[in-house]
């Protein structure tokens, strides 16, 4: 991840990816633990929580699954709702492919793309944007696999030890709520460059409005779309092309 300071231009390997997943692991463990706790509160077992985390691996959407199923919603309506929530993932592949220079090994890609959650995508994007030569599919595999394992492990532990959460000091219980916003701010700080100011500003405002007036999952999708339009507006209307595109005003 961004803290990897080496100036080496060698592609990073699997274990470096595993090492760089630690920010995600430290965030996933408590959040997935909370998922395991939530699942048991809705009457599901720890092993069912683990199964959902292993098969779906859908982050916050999983909280919705147990809530919907627990409240008697049909499985098909539940499945459709979660699929609609996660439709934004369709955008992540093209965004990464745009930055990846080498041809992908599709067998390997299938494995790491399985774990392409919001956080893994953000880490991969930062690596590709800032240290493109260090990015490799093996690094992505390590990042993705260890993030997935931590999510699955946290879910199981949450299901098994749901009654132990209340024994944590109160400030630590409160701290768990802040891990996800903190991780995303860290990602934003790591990814941000001056040229992103306009896109980031528009996205923050639009997604906040969508979050307030519509709902959470729509807010992410609408926020991303607004960022895309902001990028195009900046290039074509404000005539402020990024250096990467400055010489390419012709349509290829």
């Amino acid at each position: 991840m961004s803290e990897h300071k080496t100036l080496s231009t060698q592609p990073a390997g699997f274990w470096q990816g595993a090492k760089d997943s630690q920010a995600i692991i430290f965030t996933y463990l408590p959040v997935s633990f909370a998922f395991g706790v939530s699942a048991t509160q809705f009457g599901f077992s720890a092993w069912e929580a683990l199964f959902l985390s292993c098969t779906m691996y859908a982050g916050a959407s999983q909280f919705l699954v147990v809530a919907l199923l627990g409240s008697g919603t049909s499985i098909w309506m539940t499945a459709l709702t979660v699929i609609a929530l996660d439709i934004r993932h369709l955008l992540y592949g093209p965004a990464l492919t745009n930055l990846i220079q080498d041809r992908l090994n599709l067998k390997k890609t299938a494995i790491w793309a399985w774990g392409l959650t919001d956080e893994v995508f953000a880490s991969g994007m930062i690596k590709l944007s800032q240290r493109r030569q260090q990015w490799s599919e093996s690094w992505m595999l390590g990042l993705s696999l260890f993030s997935w394992m931590s999510w699955a492990l946290g879910s199981l532990l949450g299901g098994l030890f749901a009654d132990q959460v209340s024994k944590l000091p109160q400030f630590l219980q409160a701290a768990l709520d802040f891990l996800l916003p903190a991780l995303f701010l860290s990602f934003l700080l790591a990814a941000f460059e001056k040229k992103h100011t306009f896109v980031v500003s528009v996205t923050l405002v639009v997604s906040a409005i969508a979050c307030y007036f519509i709902d959470l999952s729509a807010a992410i999708f609408i926020g991303i779309l607004s960022g895309i339009f902001a990028g195009l507006f900046k290039h074509y209307v404000l005539k402020q092309p990024d250096d990467a595109y400055a010489g390419g005003s012709h349509e290829s």
Binding site: E3, F26, S45, E48, F51, C54, M56, Y57, A58, S61, V65, L69, I75, T78, A79, I83, D86, R88, H89, L91, Y92, G93, A95, N98, Q101, L104, T109, A113, W114, L116, F121, A122, M125, F171, A174, A175, D177, F178, P181, A182, L185, S186, F187, L188, A190, V199, V200, T203, L204, S207, L216, A219, I224, G227, I228, G231, D242, Y245, G248, S252
Partner: protein, 115 residues
């Protein structure tokens, strides 16, 4: 194990896999020549997705708890300031994120704030 859980897990799992891996597969199969990577507007659009996604996720992770519990605002503000300061000082995500979370927890638990 509950049959409903197994079905939902499998159906959503397949859909998630398709939405995550599908685009890579399609792009690789239809992009025979790596030099032909589409129009400029498409490159700009794709280049904006990453930073826009991170910004949106930050909003979605932060705003709902604040709307629900406005007295978290001060602790969130302090947590973000600590995180930003530590990140720019040391450029390390893990310690900055964890320290900010503990700071948030301490402020929210022990510092009275009336909104």
């Amino acid at each position: 194990m509950n049959l409903e859980i197994i079905l939902v897990g499998i159906v959503v799992g397949i859909a998630n896999f398709a939405s995550r891996f599908g685009p890579f597969f399609v792009i690789q199969k239809f992009q025979q020549d790596s030099q032909k990577r589409g129009a400029l507007w498409l490159k700009i659009a794709l280049g904006s997705i990453g930073i826009a996604a991170i910004s949106s996720m930050l909003v979605v992770a932060t705003l709902p708890p604040l709307l629900e519990t406005p007295n978290k605002s001060f602790a969130v503000l302090v947590g973000f300031i600590v995180l930003t300061g530590l990140y720019f000082k040391y450029k390390k995500i893990v310690p900055a994120t964890l320290t900010a979370a503990v700071t948030y927890g301490l402020i929210y638990t022990y510092v009275p704030f009336f909104f």
